[in-house]
C-alpha cells in the first residue's frame, strides 16, 4: 500500500526531534483524529537553516513529516511556503487514497511554523504574501 520511499522515510525518518531554541514552531492535527505533527524551524537570512519534526500518527504521517523536512532545508521561506501537501505526497511517489487527508498535513505544519516565525519577528504583515493561503492549526 505504501511506496518504498514512504516506507524508507517511515523506517528511517529524517530530522526527528525538537529544536530547543526554535525560531518558529507549527503544530497541526489532533490525537482524536489519529495524527499530530509538530515542526520546529531555525531561520537564517530568510532561509530554513534547520528543521525538526515530531509526529504522532500512521506511517503516512511520519513519512510526510520526514520528507517535508528534507524538502525545505536550505529553501527560502517563500519557497518553503510554496510546498503543498499535494507536492509532498507526489515527492513520496503517492499515498493511498484514504491517507491523503488527515495523514498528509506536514506541509501545513511547516507553513504554520513559518507563520509563527514571521509573527514572532514582527513581520505579521508579510504572512499573507509569503503564505499565499495561510493555514491555521486545527486545534
Amino acid at each position: 500500500m505504501y511506496t518504498d520511499l514512504v516506507m524508507d522515510h517511515f523506517a528511517n525518518p529524517r530530522n526527528v526531534g525538537e529544536i530547543e531554541d526554535a525560531d518558529g514552531v507549527g503544530q497541526i492535527g489532533n490525537p482524536v483524529c489519529g495524527d499530530v505533527m509538530r515542526m520546529s524551524i531555525k531561520v537564517e537570512d530568510d532561509r530554513i537553516a534547520d528543521v525538526k519534526f515530531k509526529t504522532f500518527g500512521c506511517g503516512a504521517a511520519v513519512a510526510t513529516s520526514s520528507i517535508v523536512t528534507e524538502m525545505v532545508i536550505g529553501k527560502t521561506l517563500s519557497e518553503a511556503a510554496e510546498i503543498s501537501n499535494k507536492a509532498v505526497a507526489e515527492a513520496l511517489g503517492g499515498l493511498p487514497a484514504n491517507k491523503m487527508h488527515c495523514s498528509n498535513l506536514a506541509a501545513d505544519a511547516m507553513h504554520i511554523a513559518i507563520e509563527d516565525y514571521l509573527t514572532r519577528n514582527g513581520r505579521a504583515d508579510e504572512v499573507a504574501t509569503i503564505l499565499k493561503s495561510p493555514k491555521k492549526a486545527s486545534s
Binding site: M7, F10, A11, P13, V16, G17, Q27, P31, V32, C33, G34, D35, V36, M37, R38, K54, T55, F56, G57, C58, G59, A61, V62, P96, N98, K99, C102, S103
Partner: protein, 385 residues
C-alpha cells in the same frame, strides 16, 4: 512466509492436514453436488460429511447447518434473513459487534427497523441490565457475539439467550472468533442461530456456516437454485465445506492441548509487556477472554506505526479494528468501552495461533520495547521523552 504471525483473529493459514482433506475436491472429485451422476454424488457425500462434522463440533443436528461464503454472510443471513419474516420491528444487539452484524443491523434500520445497540463496560462485556431493559413488545431478534474480535472479551451468551427467550425473542450469536478455540454447544448456549467462518479456524477463506435451530424460520438472502434446503442458493463450495468440517474436527480434537498452551503464551506476553513498558494498558477482560488474544493500548503512539515497525522486524500484528477494510477510524469497540480516541488509536492486537512458539513470543518481547521507545521519542504527545 518468514513471519512471526500474531494475527490469527484476522485470518489463519489453512492447516496442512485440512488442506490434504480438501485437495482432492478441486481437480479430481470436482462434481456439482446437485447432480445425481457419480461425480455429483461424490460431491454430495463430501458436502454432507462436512455438514455432519460441523454439526458434531457445535452439538447441533446436520439439518441445522447452512453453509455460506463466510462469517459476514452468515451474520447477514441471521439478521436480514430472520428479519424478512416480519414487516418491521425492533432488534437488540451490542455496541461491540463485528461490522458484519453491526452493518446488517444498520441496513435494517434504513429499512425502518428500530435497533438498540446495548452498551458495554470498560472490559467490553455487555451490560446485562441494559440488555434486559432493551426488550420491547415488538423486539424480534437479539444478536450478541460470543467473543469480541478486537479485545477478546467473552460475552455471557447463555444468559443473554435465556433472557431473550423469556421474552419470546430469538437469539443469534456471532461465534466466528470462538469456534475452534473454546468448546461450543448450541444447546448449552441455548442460541437459535450461530455464525462461524472457515478462515479463522485454519480452513480456507470463502466458506462459513450458520447454525439455524430446528423450528427457527429464516428466509434466504441469496436467491436462486434453492440449495441448502432453499436457504442459500449457489453451487456448494465442496472443498471449502470439507475444509471447514475437517478444521473444526481437528480443532475440537486438539483443543485440550492447544488452549492451555495459547493461554500460557498469551499470559506471558501480557505480563511481560505490562511489566516492561510504562503507560500500557491491557484492553478487555484479563481472565474472561479468548485464549490467544492480547490487546493493548499504548499511550502517545499510534497503532499503525507500531504495526509497521513490527512488520519491519518480521512480526505481523494488527491494530484496532482489523476486520474493516482500510478503515482509519479508531476501533468502535475500544471507544464503546469508554476509552478516548487517542487510546483507541494507540491499540495493538496480538492474536496467537496453533503454530506460534514461545521463542516467537520472546522475540516480540525483545523487539517491541525499543519500537515503543523510538516512536515515543518521535511523538509530540510524549512529554517525558
Amino acid at each position: 512466509m518468514n513471519y512471526v504471525y500474531f494475527d490469527h483473529a484476522a485470518t489463519t493459514g489453512v492447516d496442512p492436514r485440512v488442506f490434504a482433506r480438501m485437495e482432492p475436491y478441486f481437480s479430481e472429485f470436482y462434481g456439482n453436488a446437485s447432480e445425481i451422476h457419480g461425480p455429483g454424488r461424490k460431491a454430495r457425500e463430501a458436502v454432507e460429511w462436512g455438514r455432519a462434522a460441523v454439526a458434531q463440533a457445535l452439538g447441533a443436528n446436520e439439518k441445522e447447518i447452512v453453509f455460506t461464503s463466510g462469517g459476514t454472510e452468515a451474520d447477514n443471513m441471521a439478521l436480514i434473513g430472520y428479519a424478512q419474516r416480519f414487516s418491521g420491528g425492533h432488534i437488540i444487539t451490542s455496541a461491540v459487534e463485528h461490522p458484519a452484524v453491526m452493518e446488517s443491523a444498520r441496513f435494517l434500520q434504513r429499512q425502518g427497523w428500530d435497533v438498540t445497540f446495548v452498551p458495554v463496560d470498560q472490559y467490553g462485556a455487555v451490560d446485562v441490565d441494559a440488555y434486559r431493559a432493551a426488550f420491547r413488545d415488538d423486539t424480534r431478534l437479539a444478536s450478541v457475539m460470543l467473543a469480541n474480535n478486537v479485545v477478546g472479551t467473552l460475552q455471557p451468551v447463555a444468559e443473554l439467550a435465556r433472557i431473550a427467550h423469556d421474552q419470546g425473542v430469538a437469539f443469534h450469536t456471532d461465534a466466528v472468533q470462538v469456534a475452534g478455540s473454546l468448546p461450543i454447544d448450541v444447546d448449552e448456549l441455548g442460541v437459535d442461530m450461530l455464525s462461524i467462518s472457515g478462515h479463522k479456524i485454519y480452513a480456507p477463506k470463502g466458506i462459513g456456516a450458520l447454525y439455524v435451530r430446528k423450528g427457527t424460520r429464516i428466509g434466504p438472502i441469496l436467491h436462486g437454485g434453492g440449495h441448502e434446503r432453499r436457504l442459500r442458493s449457489g453451487t456448494e463450495n465442496v472443498p471449502g465445506i470439507v475444509g471447514i468440517g475437517a478444521a473444526l474436527e481437528l480443532a475440537v480434537a486438539e483443543m485440550s492441548a492447544t488452549r492451555p498452551r495459547l493461554e500460557q503464551l498469551r499470559d506471558k506476553v501480557v505480563a511481560a509487556t505490562l511489566a516492561t513498558i510504562d503507560e500500557v494498558q491491557l484492553l478487555g477482560d484479563a481472565v474472561n477472554r479468548l485464549p490467544g488474544n492480547a490487546c493493548f493500548s499504548i499511550r502517545y503512539i499510534e497503532g499503525e506505526s507500531m504495526l509497521l515497525q513490527l512488520d519491519g522486524k518480521g512480526i505481523a500484528v494488527s491494530s484496532g479494528s482489523a476486520c474493516a477494510s482500510g478503515s482509519l477510524e479508531p476501533s468502535h469497540v475500544i471507544l464503546a468501552m469508554g476509552f478516548g480516541a487517542e487510546e483507541a488509536h494507540g491499540s495493538l492486537r496480538l492474536t496467537l495461533g496453533r503454530e506460534n512458539t514461545e521463542a516467537e513470543i520472546d522475540y516480540f518481547l525483545e523487539v517491541f520495547p525499543p519500537i515503543v521507545e523510538h516512536l515515543r521519542k518521535m511523538s509530540p504527545l510524549y512529554v517525558k521523552g
